[in-house]
């Protein structure tokens, strides 16, 4: 169904944009950089939310809500945080409009100027730690394990639907602990939650690792990340978990009395995952026919399409279709029966392929005669005719199989596109000609990292947790190195 989409191999960026628009996931709004998330795209976000929320609660977290606005002065309190976040942001300066006396329009009322400007939150560490100050006196008040579902704004100059937008939706966890060790364990635990979620639910294989100092969250002692490989050979950071040490506690003077009666600053973590993940989902799995959604994430898991020539046939088919639908729904499978007469079956087939529905059932008069159903799977586009009797068990198994197949396909792709490189020429060649993950030695300095970025646009995506000790020489400087790190160009 190439008519819907630009060919992925010809223009990957255009293919991506076409797909987001044509599959009705999102569109650009009239407000520069802000997107409208359309119902089908939002339904995917709701699935992501439900699963993450379940995982957060299972690990002892609760939700809360903090203000959208942050006083400007808060950003200056944490020395590094201000560098990262208080630059490109939406600034509220006034609180009233009035009629323009010379015309019909509205103007900002100059009398309604705020004493201190308010920043629309780009992330909430500052406003939350300002609250925690009043909540924490003693070790008995710890840990605090809070998550927030919210919108945030970062005034990006170049935006792309889901991947980089001025406003986006996310969750941000903000926890407070009595000891450094407990906070580090929390940072690791939440990266584990993200990586399990990405792999088991989104069928997205990820590499877990540390960020280099350059790439750390502004204000963090350590940033852990999960990095995924997209089909164009670029990396995408899919979630991060930060060990913040005592930086924000010191900036907002949050101290507690420990069990021995000693005063100390509180230890912190924060961790976030955003609507960007929908971009990752699209770019990791989809093809020239449209979206490929892993069944656990698909808003519609099975679509049933009747093939008929007259109302009598439709009626007979509908009886069979609705019986299958209700027995699948009883098993918790989401099913849509599309008997609209406004579109032909061929159009419907193409449309549900575009939308990535994992399984399509087609039922025609001959299927009724033979008690069969035509079953098509979206991931491989394979079709087979199966008996109606026992169709529920067949589909349950098929959905599992599709989930696994999508994951393993992505994993195989990553394996085939991960390169252990020891020569600078190879490093540059691979980046320019095929992309992918490059495991290479690095001398550990920010200067080298910066130069590699300048010359190749590749960055250190992470220092993988499982990268083994290995003596080698830095791919750029030739200086000694103890382990390989993961380089790639990235979104």
């Amino acid at each position: 169904m190439a008519k819907f989409l630009t060919n992925r191999e010809e223009n990957y960026a255009q293919w991506y944009n076409d797909l987001v628009i044509k599959a009705d996931l999102a569109e650009n709004s009239v407000v520069r950089g802000c997107m409208v998330i359309k119902p089908y795209g939002y339904a995917i976000w709701e699935k992501i939310q439900a699963e993450l929320d379940r995982k957060f609660k299972a690990t002892g977290h609760v939700n809360a809500y903090f203000p959208l606005f942050i006083p400007k002065s808060f950003f200056s309190k944490e020395a590094k945080h201000v560098e990262g976040f208080a630059k490109e942001c939406a600034i509220v300066t006034h609180y009233r409009l009035k009629k323009d006396e010379s015309g019909n329009g509205l103007i900002v009322d100059p009398a309604a100027k705020l004493e201190e400007e308010l920043i629309v939150r780009p992330t909430s560490e500052t406003i939350i730690w300002n609250s925690y100050k009043n909540w924490i006196q003693s070790y008995r008040d710890l840990p605090i394990l809070i998550n927030q579902w919210a919108n945030v704004v970062r005034w990006e100059m170049r935006t792309r639907l889901f991947l980089r937008t001025a406003e986006f939706l996310w969750q941000e966890g903000h926890t407070a602990h009595a000891t450094s060790q407990e906070a580090i364990e929390e940072t690791e635990r939440m990266l584990g939650v993200y990586s399990d979620f990405a792999e088991d639910f989104m069928a997205l294989p990820v590499i877990k690792g540390y960020k280099s100092e350059n790439e750390r969250f502004a204000g963090a002692i350590d940033t852990y990340t999960i990095e995924a490989l997209m089909q164009d050979g670029k990396a995408l950071q899919a979630g991060t978990s930060h060990f913040l040490g005592q930086n924000f506690a010191k900036a907002f003077d949050v101290q507690f009395t420990d069990k021995t009666g000693k005063l100390d600053y509180v230890w912190a973590t924060s961790w976030g995952l955003s609507t960007r993940m929908i971009g990752a989902l699209i770019m990791a799995h989809s093809d020239n026919n449209g979206l490929v959604l892993p069944p656990r994430l698909a808003p519609i898991q099975v679509v049933i399409i009747p093939i008929y020539k007259n109302p009598e046939q439709l009626e007979t088919i509908s009886v069979a279709a609705k019986k299958i639908m209700s027995s699948l729904e009883f098993l918790g499978i989401s099913v849509k029966y599309d008997d609209r007469d406004t579109n032909k079956p061929g159009w419907k087939f193409a449309n549900y392929e575009l939308k990535g529905v994992p399984v399509r059932l087609a039922i025609g008069p001959r299927d009724i005669e033979n008690s069969t159903v035509e079953v098509a799977r979206r991931d491989t586009l394979e079709k087979e005719t199966v008996p109606m009797n026992g169709i529920e068990a067949h589909i349950t198994g098929l959905l599992e199989d599709i989930q696994n197949n999508i994951y393993h396909k992505a994993l195989e792709f990553r394996k085939a596109n991960t390169f252990y490189v020891d020569k600078w020429d190879d490093f540059v060649n691979i980046l320019d000609n095929q992309g992918g993950f490059i495991m290479a030695h690095w001398d550990g300095t920010a200067e080298t990292e910066e130069k590699i970025k300048e010359e190749t646009k590749a960055t250190i995506r992470c220092i993988p947790f499982d990268s083994p000790d290995e003596d080698g020489k830095c791919i750029y400087s030739g200086k000694p190195s103890k382990r390989r790190v993961l380089f790639a160009r990235s979104y």
Copy 2:
């Protein structure tokens, strides 16, 4: 446990504020007018969200997300809407901060001024109808049945936790229809969803009715409302559903081709319910001991507290408690077992009363001997000792009973405080001395409504759907009237 709270009868406003703070529902933030919704308050909001979202989906709606920011000029497009919403609002004028060269702080970069100011949404009709313009060409694109869960900002000068805050959380439904009748039916349907939700889930009896022209949503042809009576005799508007006619379609030029090929403007509704509902919940049911939560809404439905003198006793009690807990949880009841040794049972009793947990179980050594449990219900504060055997059925029934009792208590209170009044002196007297709902005749003019408001601070809460035809004379002007309307002072 009057020590926690100001007495409700002495100072209702202070009692309310104390309760919100002491029960850990919310607190004021450093940003004027913006609150922090704490985990226990947010857990109640999550319960509200889950139930409403289920009801919206069951009536065919889907969720989506539109931008936080609205271009200033959009507000001028609908003549009445601008009057209602484009006055007190948060205005984004700039998009970048920079270091103040004379000091350490940050200043707004004057070079980063927006061409057109952006308003933080106070409600989303304008930005949504601007999108619908591109989504709707033909009757085949209709209806659109979309809901959005979002934060909104209205720059209120006098704020109160939950009841009136600059930023609040809500849902806003925005639907588009091919005919006036269909849109009116939708407006009615959603008011029905709100009233069922309020009565069955929140145990809050409500009066359904039309708003007078003065009290309508800015830009609506008709506003339907549900009005609830608080324990201090004031009314609270708990949810509204608006028939917008073709006003927004005309303002944003949204036309469609109907089945006959004729072009027409699209018909619209919008409807919203906010975190204000948590204020209603508190003020309708709670007492001097704290919150009283209807079981369907309570984040913790049953708390179990062990009474013990030594670790051996605790161990035996814990075995029994955990058995009860797991069998209750199996039935879908949320249970907390509080075996903390940091607080005494009496403190725990008072604390869970303050937090409104519907059922408290206490188990002591004698209960273990006798195979009994002490069961206390929060609504009546009654206690009884019941056999451990069969406790699950007892508690299931008790939770139902509490839900019904809270509703009927509120309904009885409303009946006792609804007055049919025909004399102006009585009208004023009741308002000044006892409060409540007043059913009185009104001549139907905005002038009279305005004068009554000026003289008594009472407004027409609604023209009840079920108010019968009845000839009478306006309570204020003496002019003829055909039916009674509902007056009250309100939040």
